[in-house]
């Protein structure tokens, strides 16, 4: 068994009265792709934000390489964050910066590279997401799907140890969606990257998932290999998989 990179232990999180996560425990192993499923509003984004300490748990602990995030100084947290990539559900591109500046921002903060090396790296990464031509555009000039792919490029450009993806393929057409999923898979193979991927996209999950966890009502409802979960007889999970298809049909009827 691979070693544990991330260890989430009995984590609970609430916002005032709203109990979002209840006693969630998960391990993330080095080099694996873990997919997180769950209905809208169950706390998937909150879980990812807890891992990078954008939010703090009300109880429980999170360990990154056996270091407890709760007991680290701001400096040590900043150090750990450099090892973690985070793709925001909203993209969170810097509006006042061009695509080039968006990508060079994290690079300059983490590595000590020459201008030439930075440009090379930016071009290479834009190639991966298929948007070399957008290098001098401002975020406002991009389509929704393009923004998503630039955000992805900004996340992977620093080649972190682990990337937390919050819905990487939502809003993309099926072909791009598949390309992005394959890109995530190739990052795992080529760079031995670990990924935690929140998604509703079953095709994406099928391509990348080693393991799946299912969140329901703030708790881990089910955990297992993708195929096991897919074959599950559990009513809720069957609904999740089939509702997806029914919903798509329903929408095209309108």
């Amino acid at each position: 068994m691979d070693s544990i990179l991330l260890n989430i232990e009995n984590v609970s999180k609430n916002f005032d009265e709203n109990q979002v996560l209840k006693n969630v425990s998960v391990n993330v192993y080095e080099g694996e792709n873990l997919v997180v499923f769950g209905r809208s509003g169950t706390g998937k984004s909150v879980l990812l934000k807890l891992i990078v300490k954008l939010l703090e748990p009300n109880s429980g602990n999170i360990f990154y390489r056996n270091k407890n995030l709760n007991s680290l100084s701001a400096k040590e947290i900043a150090q750990i964050r450099k090892q973690i990539g985070f793709l925001f559900q909203s993209g969170a591109l810097y509006d006042s910066m061009s695509v080039r500046e968006n990508l060079s921002f994290p690079l300059k903060k983490i590595f000590n590279l020459s201008e030439k090396e930075i440009i090379e790296k930016i071009n290479k990464t834009l190639e991966l997401v298929g948007l070399v031509s957008a290098i001098d555009k401002m975020p406002a000039e991009l389509s929704g799907g393009m923004r998503k792919r630039i955000a992805l490029a900004r996340t992977i450009i620093t080649e972190p140890e682990i990337i937390l993806y919050d819905e990487p393929t939502t809003g993309l057409d099926p072909i791009t969606s598949k390309e992005i999923s394959e890109l995530i898979l190739s990052l795992q193979h080529q760079l031995k990257m670990t990924s935690v991927v929140v998604t509703h996209d079953l095709i994406c999950a099928e391509i990348i998932a080693d393991r799946v966890i299912f969140l329901k009502d703030g708790e881990i409802y089910k955990e297992g290999l993708f195929d096991e979960i897919k074959q599950s007889n559990d009513l809720f999970i069957r609904n999740f998989f089939s509702a997806k298809i029914l919903k798509d049909v329903g929408e095209s009827d309108v």
Partner: protein, 264 residues
């Protein structure tokens, strides 16, 4: 940094509004202390500070310049109509010069700067907050407070005095134009008359204030932006509140500083 949470709603009672105002003041105080702490420890974002200074200065030049020339012109013209019947027009350059240096240029430039730049900072940082851009900076290992707040506050603090000096020259030029039209006064006479009555205290009294005003513009705008909540509605609120609060503070601090400088 733990800032007090302010509840916004349309129908607040008077006591709730008062409470909010005190929460805002205490939040601003905590934010200011945090600013000094962060300012002193490296890394220093020098590139970004320069960029912001350049941006704020350039953005404000046209508006403060226009204001300056008009204020100078009008002040001289009004003094002319008051003093001309007494044959005392010789004193106009000096009296107008002192008013401009000590009060008009610093305060009016600061108020316009607040309208232009404090709102801009509030809107920019506020929209970055609600669209998770500040979170994105934080997870990329950058300290967003240093990158966004410290740089902008330093930029406003040092650019406003420069803008004020610029306005002083432009306003004096405006005054000269008015006197040239009414009295055919020569530039040499005007210049000599202004400089012979002015002393260093007039210049320093006016300019020292502007560092405080610039600081207020930056810190209030950044505070409003950084504490923005509630989507685009919140951004709108931060923008207007930035202007209102920074303008009020500027006027209030001006009053105190004038009083203090008279006691010295």
């Amino acid at each position: 940094m733990n800032l007090p949470k302010i509840k916004y709603s349309l129908n607040l009672s008077l006591t709730e509004k008062l409470l909010n105002f005190f929460l805002l003041l205490s939040g601003l105080a905590i934010f200011t202390i945090h600013f000094f702490k962060e300012m002193l420890v490296p890394p220093y974002e020098i590139e970004e500070t320069k960029k912001q200074m350049y941006d704020f200065g350039l953005k404000s030049l046209p508006i403060v310049g226009t204001m300056g020339i008009i204020i100078g012109f009008v002040l001289a013209l009004q003094s002319y109509f008051i003093l001309e019947p007494f044959g005392a027009t010789d004193f106009i350059p000096a009296s107008v010069g002192i008013s401009i240096l000590r009060e008009f240029a610093p305060i009016l430039t600061a108020l316009l700067f607040a309208g232009r730049v404090s709102s801009g900072i509030g809107a920019e940082i506020g929209s970055m907050k609600v669209t998770e851009q500040i979170d994105a900076m934080e997870v990329s290992g950058t300290n967003p407070f240093k990158f966004l707040v410290v740089t902008r506050v330093i930029a406003t603090t040092f650019i406003l005095p420069l803008l004020t000096i610029y306005v002083i020259f432009i306003s004096l030029l405006g005054s000269f134009l008015a006197l040239l039209i009414e009295e055919q006064m020569s530039l040499v006479y005007f210049f000599n008359s202004v400089t012979s009555y002015l002393d260093l205290s007039d210049i320093s009294a006016g300019l020292i204030k502007t560092f405080f005003f610039g600081f207020i513009v930056g810190i209030v705008g950044a505070f409003q932006g950084y504490t923005t909540e509630g989507g685009t509605v919140g951004v709108g609120r931060s923008t207007t509140t930035s202007v209102v609060i920074s303008s009020l503070f500027i006027l209030f601090v001006d009053m105190i500083l004038v009083k203090v400088s008279m006691m010295l």
